[in-house]
Symmetry: D3
Subunit: 261 residues, 6 copies
């Protein structure tokens, strides 16, 4: 049986024992409550990221997983029913309080594992301040960066939102909530200075923010969700877990080395 890794499903006695026997790392997954087209639930981001966090923690030592911060920054999706969005200052405050609590208990590595692109800048700002305020290692990891190789095998022209990749991973994390019969392909017309791929976006010279999804899609999908399969998802999620395990191992070593100086 897998070791218990969900911190909140443990008693304080178990968490204390873990800390005393070398556990030094807590993953705080971040997702969103936002539209994911007609075939994926609002919780998709949160579910995917939590799945990765738990599997990685189970596959290594010394790592626990905090409850997922499910609400995120989703201004661009707010026109779709059910989407919730936070102010950036709210998310910063929330992450700071959570991290300070864990540092107080003795965790030395706080890993913000973020599954929702809209959160990235806000998480980065929270981390800047947390690094000054605590002596802990504050790591930000964006899940798509954990699955770069397997993502190359995807077939769609565009991978952006509620698409082939995201649907494939959801078929692993929350298959019971995916309705492939409703999956669609929707490719927005190109926008000036904006390309709907992570790759292109990261190479872009200008950041204009995310367009309001409602203005460019009907379904909420940007990409081709019909090409999603559980097999693709397994490859992506597998790579993500494996990469995360290895990154965390290196991270823990680095922190230990730094403390030993």
């Amino acid at each position: 049986m897998a070791r218990k890794v969900k911190l909140a499903e443990m008693t304080w006695v178990e968490v204390k024992a873990a800390l005393e026997s070398g556990t030094d790392t807590v993953i705080v997954p971040l997702g969103s409550v936002e539209q994911h087209s007609r075939h994926l639930p609002l919780i998709t981001d949160s579910a995917n990221v939590e799945w990765i966090a738990v599997k990685a923690a189970e596959g290594t030592d010394g790592v626990l997983v905090a409850p997922t911060v499910v609400y995120g920054i989703s201004h661009n999706h707010i026109d779709f029913a059910g989407t919730v969005t936070l102010r950036t200052s709210t998310l910063i405050a929330l992450l700071k309080d959570i991290a300070h609590s864990f540092v107080k208990h003795g965790f030395r590595n706080i890993v913000f594992l973020n599954g929702h692109g809209g959160n990235n800048a806000t998480v980065a700002v929270a981390a800047i301040e947390l690094r000054e305020e605590t002596g802990a290692t504050i790591a930000n990891i964006y899940t798509p960066n954990l699955m770069r190789n397997s993502a190359k095998l995807l077939e769609s022209d565009i991978e952006w939102h509620a698409d082939e990749g995201e649907t494939s991973t959801a078929l692993v994390a929350i298959p019971e909530l995916v309705d492939m019969s409703k999956a669609v392909r929707e490719i927005p017309k190109p926008r000036p200075l904006f390309t709907f791929t992570e790759e292109a976006l990261s190479r872009s010279v200008v950041d204009l923010g995310l367009p309001k999804t409602r203005e460019i899609t009907t379904s909420g999908t940007i990409g081709d969700a019909t090409l999603a399969t559980r097999e693709k998802g397994e490859r992506m999620m597998g790579e993500a877990v494996e990469t995360l395990i290895s990154v965390i191992a290196e991270l823990r070593e680095a922190t230990k080395a730094s403390s030993a100086r």
Copy 2:
């Protein structure tokens, strides 16, 4: 099969359809990530409150359940490993952003269903401001108030924390996470001006805040968890669900009547 009531497990299309066919109420459950003695997990409050919210929503029409706000105000438990606590301003900001998003989508009744006493004042303050800022009905409900009759059947002298009642309800909501073999009875010595019962506390003339749990207990239990049974839990949870259904029905009528004026 029960109707889908967890908003985040629905697609935006399903939420939109629900809103168009009369759904006007969203329950936002609030819990905590805090120590619950040696036999209950940190997530106990959040799990219990979410169970009630979901069952009530399934038992009525027009109600969805938002993802639980699992992190809460837990200063008094922070000395126990794994406990997380927020600043009050953080929780206020978070509740405001969530409620504003739901009001934007057309929900008319926002029900903060709070399962953790430490959150009560903070939720009340958020609600004061939200009532001014939105036209919506903002209702605060504290779950122990939903189970007053069945709570009278409990046998312990003191019902306070990780105790007979809370353990009994956890045996319903998360039986797989309860380890009755570790359940204990621990009754703190009386403190001046402070009685460890909700009843007494609500009648007290002075509020001194909650004592640091670490100073008054070894286990984290205040009460007698050994007396807990699933049967007691079922009576309590059953009453809570029933009462909540009836309160929400009345609430929805009131809002409709008020809008019709």
Copy 3:
């Protein structure tokens, strides 16, 4: 002659001498500037609470009374001319600064004596944070809780606002500002889920906030002010003073015992 108890009417030399000879407690009364019907002034809450604070301080040792925080949270009365309301964050900041100043001078017990129900949650939140930030005892006391026995002798069906009880106490504290010839009886129609009695409200399972007084009354009274008498007021105020003296005595003992540990 009564000992000087109003801190602000003393010189710093007198306050210093008091602190050095055992004074360790300061009462910070909280009221409101809000409508109190046609026969009571806007300052009623503040005047009543200050009266109790001063009499209690005079009746015991070691206690001073700070200037009353007269402005409070009064959103629900704002439609009546002259009412002032603060944002909750403003009142929290104000109480924090006041308490920090007194703790710096050596007061060990800060007693927020609140005479206005609308302030309750906000004071509670300020106290949560103050307890973490200072080592002092922060006590919240709501004045109606100090006069429960005498309040039972009131004759009206409903005791809520600018009513039999409040008018009776004002006849003690500020008789020159009460115009009984304008006192009225006004009983709002019952509202769903809302009962106009403190008792009922504290037992309610749902908190919907206070209704806008303008929507439910013409005068601003909720209750029957015509039944008020000075005798009733004297019983209520007498009980309040006596209870407060005894609570503070117990409080001071508790703090001393705690410090001695």
Copy 4:
């Protein structure tokens, strides 16, 4: 009998009637709770300023006086027992909430009448923002500026704090709280770039803030309180009231003219 001018001692009905019959101005007096040497109480500033406000309002039409904001910015006196100091952001928030409430009721002129020099910059900042946020006239008046002629008759070399002038005015406003037998003369040694006179200070080229009173005095007096007399106070207070009446008259005309455009 003097017309009622203390807003908080009126009923909402009376305030409403006043507003409907031409009252358009509310004075918000600001003071402090801070040391005033061995012979004057902590409340001196607040009492003096309230006295002026009330007399001026009684001597003209159309003006009411709000409850005094007694707590102020007093960092430099905090080493003396009983002194309370606010953060500047707290006082700004408080003044904004008060002013917004009065503007909502129809007051067109909000007069911050400040009797405590330590508040000046903070009141000015609050006013800058309030002028942008409301359409109302926001006037700041510092009481020493209302009594310039009579102040010239004072005999001390230095007029600064708890001194000849301030004691003389207190002998008018709160004679029962002044103990002239404890009045002293204390003249701090000159400090580089700092002169202990309002006059000199206002002509100084550099503002270094107020020195910590504890570092430069024993008593808390800066000046010569022994020279104070009630006659001097009457001249000063008389001039202040007269000047204030005339300023407010001009102010009201200006606002009316501006609205008529």
Copy 5:
């Protein structure tokens, strides 16, 4: 060649060397980006104040000049194209961060040299808090106070904005950006309780804030810019530099004396 005094044009090695050899003072100039009539650029205030700061620093030892805080509080000019205005809380935060950084490096005297009247109260508030938070000397200097004698030689009735004095000084600091062919004379009609001279304003008994410039002028000038000459500017700027040098010398001595105690 003049010693390097612009901190930001130095390397960290040079700044360190300066600190180690007795430099203890940094001037932080504050200006504005706001309309200055038809003949002066938006940057006028910032340019003038920076010129004075640099010349003074060059004329003494131990003083460096930080980059000018060019954006300021300019609500009253916002109706003129290009004007930028900050919230007061933004400027307070900015000054606090800058000062804290310099104090960390060992500067003992932080001189806010403010060339824009609209900033005065806000700078004063920032300084109040900085004095509590740091052990450093925080000095506020408003540049017109440095040139009182030479200003007496100006010929216009009114000196207020983009006028004879300001234009004359700009002819020294930024002659290439002054277009005297566009200079105008514009004297607003007197306003109730408001006189357009610093002198009169500082003696006024009531502060109504600055009127919206657009409402009282066409050009943006208040005064007579046509009378400006470089010679007048040289006298004014010369006096300012000389006075500033002498004030800073005194200031540095005072801080040293205070530290030596």
Copy 6:
């Protein structure tokens, strides 16, 4: 002669004329005041970015350049004398106020041109909120992304801070402030999970924040500044200007097209 493009060196009349004749874009350059090794001044980032902004604005129509926001987020360099760092919340507030002012004047495109990597996340967060609050296009551009081709020609192994590239561009923007005789080569030992190249960093799977420069270098250089030449700088700056001109042209078209819809 080049058209005037520095907004703050223009009069309001000129800015108004520009807006009326098609100017719709303002560049707000962002830099830092932070150590740049022994041979470059603290202002390097600010100077470089301003140079690019001005040249680009001169090379196109319809674009003005606001005063550079010189102070930035520089926690990691704070141990080097003279470095100033802001809290992230301060920079967010500052950018919001500046942008709101420009939008009020009619600018449709606000281009944050950021020359300092430490500001990136904070600028992105400010932009997220500004896009919601204004109808304007808010573009973030990080200058290294404007010179990718020419940067490939650099010879050092590592390009990170005060290095070959940055020194080369400074030799173009501020040659008089560069002292090549002090330029050094300093290559920190590799750190776990951290590579000192923008390229590598942008491909990294984990963001650990920037290490404290003091811990990894002696000089402050990370890279090889000795290889810098003005020729290299001219190629880089030339590419940056050209690319920026073309991006802004596209941006302006996009905004116009969007408004025309």
